[in-house]
Every structure is written in structure tokens, then in C-alpha cells.
Subunit: 526 residues, 2 copies
Amino acid sequence: MPSETRNLAVLREKAYEAALQVPFTRLTLTDGSTIQLYDTSGPSRAVRTQWIAERRRDGQPTTQLACARAGIATPEMEFVALREGVPVELVRSEVAAGRAVIPANIHHPELEPMIIGSAFLVKVNANIGTSAVTFDLAEEVEKMRWAAKWGADTVMDLSTGPRIHETREAILRESPVPIGTVPIYQALEKVNGDPTRLSWEIFRETVIEQAEQGVDYMTVHAGVLLRHVPLAADRVTGIVSRGGSLMAAWCLAHHEENFLYTHFAELCEIFAAYDITFSLGDGLRPGSIADANDAAQLAELKTLGELAPIAWAHGVQVMIEGPGHVPMHKIKENVELQQEWCHAAPFYTLGPLTTDIAPAYDHITSAIGAAMIAMYGTAMLCYVTPKEHLGLPDRDDVKAGVIAYKIAAHAADLAKGHPGAQARDDALSKARFEFRWEDQFELSLDPDTARAYHDEELPAPAAKTAHFCSMCGPKFCSMRISADLQADLREYAQQGMQAKSAEFAASGGRVYLPVEPVVPVEPVVP
Amino acid sequence: MPSETRNLAVLREKAYEAALQVPFTRLTLTDGSTIQLYDTSGPSRAVRTQWIAERRRDGQPTTQLACARAGIATPEMEFVALREGVPVELVRSEVAAGRAVIPANIHHPELEPMIIGSAFLVKVNANIGTSAVTFDLAEEVEKMRWAAKWGADTVMDLSTGPRIHETREAILRESPVPIGTVPIYQALEKVNGDPTRLSWEIFRETVIEQAEQGVDYMTVHAGVLLRHVPLAADRVTGIVSRGGSLMAAWCLAHHEENFLYTHFAELCEIFAAYDITFSLGDGLRPGSIADANDAAQLAELKTLGELAPIAWAHGVQVMIEGPGHVPMHKIKENVELQQEWCHAAPFYTLGPLTTDIAPAYDHITSAIGAAMIAMYGTAMLCYVTPKEHLGLPDRDDVKAGVIAYKIAAHAADLAKGHPGAQARDDALSKARFEFRWEDQFELSLDPDTARAYHDEELPAPAAKTAHFCSMCGPKFCSMRISADLQADLREYAQQGMQAKSAEFAASGGRVYLPVEPVVPVEPVVP
């Protein structure tokens, strides 16, 4: 449409689809077109309260897996089908087969359901949580909201300091996304930090406490077996998983098999009662390039593959955790072995970091590995922030980590040819080519920063419709020159070169050239 | 060694190896070990003045390619062999075969030679330069120094505004790294920004002006042929290369073949006289995911493959430029076609960006693609900064771009199994596992930021030797628990489990546990 009648502002609305109240962000762009974006930001409308009550009333199974196997498409499944734009039968069948999970504790009605599986959009988890060195309950709740605002699909509360219970309660009651935990951390607090005093009884009590609160998935390091521990002895970086090192210490001190392994079936019964999803932890994941894909890591992975069917037999959903630090050429093998040994259960990896030499930039070293591992089939990516290895992430780090991982996840969705994934890229690129700056900003993962960067040099409102930016200036804008050529080119291509030649010569070869700025903008000359 | 006698500071020195004065950074770590790192930071000792004079005196060929073919190992080749830690014969033979280039204009004696080729370390280029909207000569020189400090292997001066000649002169006389340019930009300034008034004569004059100054390599868009232009007509983002759009505009306006193509042999003669390296420009590179690997891009690539042997016949070195915006699953094809069609000439790519939806984070979207394309064989990566698509990079953006690309390049070196590449990762990981914080910082790509992040929560000097950080706190530090277990584990693995069992029981299972901080550090409680 002509520029003088064009709306200059993008309309950004929260939209809810169907009776299930599936949330979306709806953008109405300045050219009049609309686009719907997946929206994790909440707040939730707590629609699950009713669904859970009805399921109980109708005598249906408690867990999504049991329902799926019984041929029941739960409201949660219908919700995620609408959210992903796929048939509900695909959701049900993938959950039934164990290839996808919907982490949704029956005590977490605030949840807006989401699905994790290689047939669906790649998901991103953000870790938050206090430590003994630094903690602030309100700040953690705010970090959860902040992570969800920027696109985190799940959040893990990894608090280890004081007030673990209250922190988690506050987070859960506000969270529209599934919350994951690592119960061994709280169990350790209960034994004053002495891992040798851990026990199945203390762990069990902790799991039930967290289950009652509504934790949707829990990391359990049940694959760190006594016989695996010596395999890590000659590593450059030993055991870098906290849970893994605790269980290794326990196993060695007692010279007994890991109680999480020996009591796994009992754990499954508890998980089934609340529909908690297992995240089978990789306690022996490599913590350096040197240790990638080694015997310790692979031995544990194989054990996790033995545990998954036991959980499934109890109607409990399972994800498998993966590394860590892995050079690019060893990434594919991780997915292939995981898929084979763990019977196609969803893979959930931390990065992986593709080099060890960039502390303070490990959101980038790991976004490279994350994008690749997701392309090969990993279902969810646990983010890494710039503070990894150096300290606890603050608000800015959480955002940096989430954005880097949304990039990795989306790059993988494109590479996998996920239906509809490219629509946002195409809309943004079209806006870019047509100099619809506000549309470009609003379609981006972080409109605030994109706009701020553009405004640094061209803050005038007129610059938002200018047919160039400060990168090249008006004379050198290739997009502008190209856009001016475009219409003619199409005609040119149709009519053939010979016929057009004379016409070009007649017009002095200057019909579309030179280009001049449409909107006067003051150049900034320092 | 015992901690009380350990040196707490890392010694960082500039070292020069052999008579050729090859620069390195030498770190002496706190455990007494040393490591040498590749060093691009300059300032140069201008050793080339003598080499160039001697070559002329001895009647040897002017160009590195001609020398290599004549079986002569130039001082430049010996320099890069020492720098890369490879035999000089590998350098000579790769240059002779056209698989590697040493961009080194005989009028740039300040240069510290470097090599670009898939058999060597992956290199990174940083773009700087003024535009009509913003310029400051001193700032551009400082950006060049800044880029080289953080590891840029070459720098392209893409200035398009006023004072192009003076800006370039100032940069060249200070630059230890090869300087590349795109001469068509200055040529356009000479015709007041009207691309239809460009001509071979004006271009030739501009190239000679820049050659005399010492420009080491030049981008020439000789592959944008008249018949290729209509292939870009239906693209989402048309022609996004500045040089490409200018040449397309010229071709269409005149209905004549690209003068860079028709005069290519003459251009080769000029390049040969100064030993300038061609960077054959990808004027039709895709500017969006939608346009990746399309007919226009590939038609141009094929033409570049026809031009490379013409340059070689003149004794002129050649690189081939590549995209751009490419989804992950289409990256490999780019390298395969380039290597086949362009006879294994070094590939030099801009990113590629693996999604379009993250303006303000395109250093990350493209670091993913850059790492992958380098793993497949790309020899040099042109960085993308966070300001890409939004404005001109400032000092912070230049650093962010260089660091992201050093990560991508190093990740690819690891994946390619480049000899020695993993030594730095291993040294850093070992330092990390042994809580040698200062060693970890100094071995990282950006010691300043790594140290600053750590200091945010644990600023006390004692924290630099503490056996934990604020991420997990003392009780939860897996590295600490694991390190404490390590020595015992090795013994344990040797002696077998049975024999150790009784011993463990006798010691109460608490020999190595619980762990307590060695150095008292005040927790920071907000």
C-alpha cells in the first residue's frame, strides 16, 4: 500500500485460541498482514484445574502416557496440538510411543502445557536458582517470568541454598511453563551437605515434598552406577555434574550401588501418582572437550536406556539428559547412540559447548553445539549463559542465554524442515527488504535490542521508514538499489533481454538510477 | 606444587620466534607450565621491507604464488609455517596448488604474514569502515587495532564515506594484519554515487591507487554477469551485496556485460605487479533463508570458478567469497560445490546466518553457520557483528563479532582435528578442574570479561584460589568433590573394587568427605 496511508506501528496482542485458551502473540504488521507466534510468556489462565478434576471424575488414568496408550487424547494433548499447529493424533501417538513428553504435574494447574519430542518444535530450558553464596527469592521468581517472557519453554529451579522450599513454591505458583528440579540438591541440604549421609528415605521424602508442590519433571541421576565411577578416574575434568559427583561420592563411600538405581521402581510409582516426568540425568557427562564421548559417559547412557522402559511400564514419561562439552565432529554420535540405546526417548542436552576456551561466552560456544545437536534430533536444549563456569546468572545473563538458545532451536527447526518454521524468517526478511523497520523489529526475537541498536545512529522517527540504515548510508544501500531494480527485473526476465535492450538505451539507462533517499534524515557526523 | 609456594599471577609476554620475528603470546601459568598462543595483535616489526628488497634484488618472482610454483620458499612462507607450527613445504605446496593464499602486497611491509587455506588454522576477518552517515578516521584505525588485539586475522576497510583514501592510508600504515578492500566503493564515490557512470577506467585507476597504498586483497564482483541478474528477480531479498547490486544496476542500465568480467585479465596483470590477492566477490549471495543456494547464487559461483584459473595463470592468488544466509542443512552443499567448481581455491564466507529472526544477535546466528561451514572446509570466516542489518559496528560490536568468530574458527579447528588445536582447551580445562582461576582467565579468549564475571560475586583475592565459585557454592561444587575423589579413584580403579571395600568401610566411608572450603570466602548475601 502507498506509504502515506501505511500504519507505522505494529499491533502486538496476546491472543487465546479456542476453548482451550491456547496463548499466542498476534502481530498485525504495518502492511496489514498478520502473523501468530508461539508464546511462552504467560500468565496462565489455570485452565488445567478443570481438566484434572474431570479426568479424575471420569476415572481416566492419571498420566499423559497412560492416557495416550489408552487412546485418550487429553485436553493437554489438544492444547499442545493447537500450540504446535499439528494434528492431535500426532501428539497422542508420539506420547504413547515414548518419543515425546508433556511434563505436567497434576498439582501444577497454572501450567500451559507444552510438548518435548523430536517431531515437534525444538524447546529451550532455562536454569535459575539460588546458591549458598547468593540468594534472593523474589529475584528468582522474576528470573522465571523473565526467562518465559523471552521464550524459555521450561524452567529448572536449581536452588541449593537456604529456603529451597519457599523459593520453589513461589516459582511454581507463578509459572506458566513446566518446572523441573534436581531433588538431590534439597536432599543434601537435609543432611547438612554431607553426601555420605544421603539415603533413599531422605530422597523419597524430598521427591514427595516437591511432587506435592507441583514440580513437573525431575532430574534423577540413577545411571551413575558404582562400576561406572572408576571410568571417570583419568578424565581431564572428572565428574562435573553436581548430582553425578554426589552420587559417585555416595557410592564410593558406602561401596554400595546407587540408591536411585536400586529403588528406581519405587520412584516410578511416586512419579506416576503425580504424572511427573523423568529427566534421567547424565551425571557422568563430559566437562571438557578432552572427555567427550568417553567410556564413562557412554556407560551411563546405556544404563539410562535400560531404565526408560521401566518408567514407561509404570506409565511414567521419560526424557534422557545429554552433554555437556563435545567438539562438533562428535555431536552426531551422541544423538545416534541416545536414540538407539534409549529407544527414541526425547533427548535433552546441555549445550553442548564446542570448545572450552571461551568462558564468558559459553552461551555462544554452546549455541553452536545446541543448534547442531537439535538438528540431529535433540528435543530440548538446556541453555548455557555467559556466566557458565564463572558465577550465577543474573537477569541479563538469563536473557542472553534464552535468546542464544531460541536462535539455536529455531535454526534447528529450519534445518529439520519443521512445517511453518520458516514463515517468521520470510516475514522478517520481506519486511527488511521493504524497509518496514518496525515490522522487522517486532518480528525479531528481541525487538527492544534491535530497535535500540538501530536508534543509536538514526534515532529520528523518519528513519523508521527510511530506505537505508547507517550501515551503508543512502547511496550504498544494496537492498534499496535491489528493491528499485526488482519490479523491472521481473518484467525483464519475462520479456527477454533482447526486447528490453532498446528500451533501456532509449531511457538513457537511468530510469531507476541513481537512487535518492525518500525521507530526509540528518546524517550523524561525529 | 604446594599452594603456598604457587605463583598467583600469570605471566603474559609477547615473544618473537627465530630470526623471522614470528610473534606469539607466551603464557607462564601459575603451575609453572607455559603455552604459546597464536598472536595477531601487532605491532609489526616491519621485517618484510628487507625480504621484498632481497626478492627484487635476486630477480625472484613478485608473487607468492609464482615463487611457490618455482619451488621457492619465501620468508613469508617460512614465517607462516612457524606461526602455524607446520612444515614450510606444506605451506609452499598448498600455495602452489592454489589451495591456500598469503595475502601480502609488496607495498605493505608492516604486515605480519598469515595464510588462508583449509589445511591451516581457520581464519577470521573483521570488517570496519566509515559510511556517509557516520565517520571518524581515528576511530577506524583504533577499530583495526582493536580487532587485531582480539584475534582478527585480516581486516577489511569497507569505508564508503568521505576521506576514503586517508582512512585507508592510516589503517595500512598501522596494520600488522592483511587489509582487504572493495575498490568499487571508492570508484562509486568518484562518480558521485551514480553506478551507471562507473567504468573500467575509473575502476582501474582506483585499484592502482589502492594497490600503491599496500592493500593486500581486494573483493572484485566479476561474477555478476548480465545473464545472472534476472535470476535474482523473484528472490525475497533481491541482491544484498553492495557491490553486487551496483554491478547489476550497471549491467542492466548499459545492457552490457560486467566490465570487471570483460577486463578480468587486465586486472590480473595489475594484481600480479603488487601481489594482491583476489577475493572473488559473491555479489549474488542470498540475503535470507528463503534465497539460500538458489540459481542466482550458484550461477555466480560457477563463474567465479572459471575466473580463478585465469588469475592463477597470471601468478595471482585467489579466494572465493561465499554466503550469507543459509539454513544449517544447506551449508555443506555450499562448500562441496565451491571446492569442486572453484578447484579447491580457499573459501571465504560471511557467516552464514542460520536464521533471519534475530537482528541484534546475528553474531550468534552466524557463528553457528560459520563454525559448521569451517568444519566442512571454509578457510576464512568474515565476521558478523550484533549491529548487522541495523547500523555500523562500534568498538564493542567489533569485539563481540571477533570473539564470536574466534569461537567458531576454533570449534572448527577442533572438529577438523587440527594438530595442536586442542592444547589450549586442555590447558584451560585442566586449570578449571584444579581451581587455577587466573590460569583459566588468561587462557580464555577474553580474560578481561571472564575475570569480571567471576569478580561480580566473589571479588576477594582469596576467591581466585578458592575451590568453588558462586555458581554452586562450596558444598555443591562438583569439580571440587570430583577432584577430591580423583586421586583415590585412580588407585581404586587399579586395585579393583573388592580389595578397597574393606578399607573404605574401616575409614568410616568419610576419608574424602565431607568437603570444606580451603580458603574462607565471605558469601555474598543480598
